[in-house]
Symmetry: C2
Subunit: 354 residues, 2 copies
Amino acid sequence: MTYFRKNINAMGGYTPGKQPKGGGYIKLNTNENPFPPSPKVLEAIKEAADDELRKYPDPMGTAAREKAADVFGVEPGMVLCGNGSDELLTMIVRAFAGEGDLIITPYPTYSLYETLAEIQGARFESIDFEEDYSLPADFARPDAKITFVPNPNSPSGTVVPKDVLRDLAGKLDGILVIDEAYVEFADSDCLGLVNELPNVIVLRTFSKSFSLAGMRIGFGFAQKEIIDGLIKVKDSYNVNRLFIAAAVAGLDDMEHVRGNAQKIRENRAHLTQQLRGLGAYVWPSQSNFVLARFSPPVSARRLFEELEARKILVRYFKYRRLEDCLRITVGTRQEIDALMGAMAELVESKAVVV
Amino acid sequence: MTYFRKNINAMGGYTPGKQPKGGGYIKLNTNENPFPPSPKVLEAIKEAADDELRKYPDPMGTAAREKAADVFGVEPGMVLCGNGSDELLTMIVRAFAGEGDLIITPYPTYSLYETLAEIQGARFESIDFEEDYSLPADFARPDAKITFVPNPNSPSGTVVPKDVLRDLAGKLDGILVIDEAYVEFADSDCLGLVNELPNVIVLRTFSKSFSLAGMRIGFGFAQKEIIDGLIKVKDSYNVNRLFIAAAVAGLDDMEHVRGNAQKIRENRAHLTQQLRGLGAYVWPSQSNFVLARFSPPVSARRLFEELEARKILVRYFKYRRLEDCLRITVGTRQEIDALMGAMAELVESKAVVV
């Protein structure tokens, strides 16, 4: 195929987690929230589904931008709306990294960062996390145009302390992106760093804590100069009218978000305990999923396959350091019990032994 | 601002048409449809605004993709969903044109193509349309990675015949993008060319003919190899659940679209006649807007300003060949009458004389 750029031809593309078409699945593979979104959000969408849809949306999503600024304690000029944090990640790569420029991430982490570097034709390097998923002392690469750190990290669920990230940003000549997709499930956040540092961008999404993965709502936070440059890169009318209505309503009901996050924290403790009871190693998670490592003779890959055959979806990654692991989304108590029942049975019957 | 790529720092960014915040405007500046969207679309959105929003959308928007394939007579593998055709244009530039690669458009046309080239760091050249907005004989630049031809063109509303575009595609080593944003208002379309030619992409949008600018619904059509490569570039879950529901419902009610398009054709004839009666030159439009050229002593810019002061928005472009023109969206009969009343008064009172 000669029409495409060389880097596009060479790349494989990102593979999202399975989204099964039929029903009856227990879906613990893509970190969706098991609890429904705020009824106020659904109401706001229905109200916005009117004849005004014939008109373009506000190019900046101003109502959502101002509400987000208010809720998160920054100026409206420090906020940017995107179709999920994915679109914001795309904008960031296009704005800051040209062909051949260096992009850095820790490893293992969200593999979309590498895909975005490939699309751009940028140079990509990853630096291994320590075994406990702390950042190695020599992680900072001052020459990187962009350094991505998801915090909490996926698939480990672990958190890098704010002080470490402040320190890291200070060592970089480029941009530090702190991807806080899962932060509502954590004990702390780094949003405040955008007020302190000119080279930090913090990303948030409504896909997990707001139970709105299907709406693709994301926000970026940074100093005004950074946001103004990103605006040049974004599609003119990137977010639609229903996005804006849903985002405003969602931000108006943070109680709903926090209530669900609390339930997920409790279920996470239960899931962690159950997995440990089955002999798995579980990293301490501050997210809505846990990473569990299984020891021989139990095979994580076989466990994944056998669970899928039972319509229970978890995530298995064929990557270094993860071959013996499963990433499991924290579901409802019922879902966790079904999962653990199936797992115990599989392990006991030796159906998942290497 | 040292963090951004040089080309991003150097560029100004695309300026969309004014989207006024308050009410009371007659809005004939951004080619929105004056008639409401299909009630079936609004109903479908309301139905989709349920607890399922907690889950990710289908990554390919399969339901919308299959429905579009059915309605437009191609295979589902030849269809790609995007947030408006804008997102598809962005994907196309990222997929086919690297830094320094050549992108060609006619001139004058939709200025977003140039903005996208700037963002990418691609080389951009435009080649003047003839005075009657036909393509010049030497338009084909075989070395261009992408050639964009909006058809009907904006801001002229004129159409390049299918045979000319087929011929053009055959002369190119790169991709020909035929941007059919306004095609439902025209007498013919070029979608069939994607079945004939491996290097043609045709774009459609729901922003104009479907009265859904606020939903950001676009579709790209091309041979499967092209679509498969573009999929690598798109954000994993680029379109949301409400997009998919609305697109399917909209495609199920083509009668609504065609009925409104017919009304707009009739109003366009009326508007054209009225403008000519006022002494303006109007290019023959096959779109939902017309380009009107005013002769001295009437100043198009002054006319634009005075109309805006009266809360009537039309589009004025400070570009070569357009300084004496206004692009006017075809509104309702009532809107046209209000516009023409104001225009006649302004011209008569010499309030808009240079």
